[in-house]
Amino acid sequence: MTTKPNHQEITGNVVHLLADAEFLEAIRRQLLAFATLQLGDIHLAEDAVQEAMIGALKNATSFSGRAALKTWIFAILKNKIADTLRQKQRTVNASSLLREEDEDEDWSELFDRQGFWQPDERPAPWGNPEKSMHQGQFWLVFEACLEGLPPRQARVFMMREFIELDADEICAAVGLTTSNLHVLLHRSRLRLRECLENKWYLKGG
């Protein structure tokens, strides 16, 4: 038998998480990347993330684990981002953040009438994508492609891939059905893939 101290009690668990500097720093980075792209301004993003984290930690009473704490901080951050955008008057109100985009997107550039790849759009091999991560120029292309996504697709893509929320959490947070979410994520990935291929991999990146 081991004599490990018992940290299973919920209160003990929160203290444990808050003392985990590495965990908090990892969350901070994810949130900052997200906020920066949403707000288009690193300083506003840093402020929003800092406020969200302090707010969340101050009111932290019970979390069953890391995932729950992360979800909670992210929920606060989303409100901060909405507030900031409203102040910047870049949007009329928070609900416009989640306004329906045109559902009838035209995919005829990518797929023919039978739903098969158009010959010049068929995905080409990318070689070794890890290599591209060591090239500064690649990240500029990556950011440009992300910024080129329609806002709603960008938002759910980032919630999924930056913040690593699962599908149920995203649906609850932004009021989508699961099938809506699947549609948005599918579209965002089609676009992002195409953009990276055209702007990087086909250019010999």
Binding site: Q114, G115, W126, F142, D166, A167, H186, R189
Partner: protein, 64 residues
Amino acid sequence: MLNCHDATRLMSQSQERALSLVEQMSLKLHKMMCSGCRHFDEQMGAIRMVTRAYVQGKNEQEKR
């Protein structure tokens, strides 16, 4: 028979949910015949890997 548009839909969804056995089989059959969709499948993994690296600030080191 799946077309490419449907196949990409399943490959995207497989990142959020477990595909049913029928879905897995149809996808496998489609990919056997379609190099474009085989590449697409690899690239879904690549995009996730690259995105996580971006979030972890790998780009900041490389830009400097």
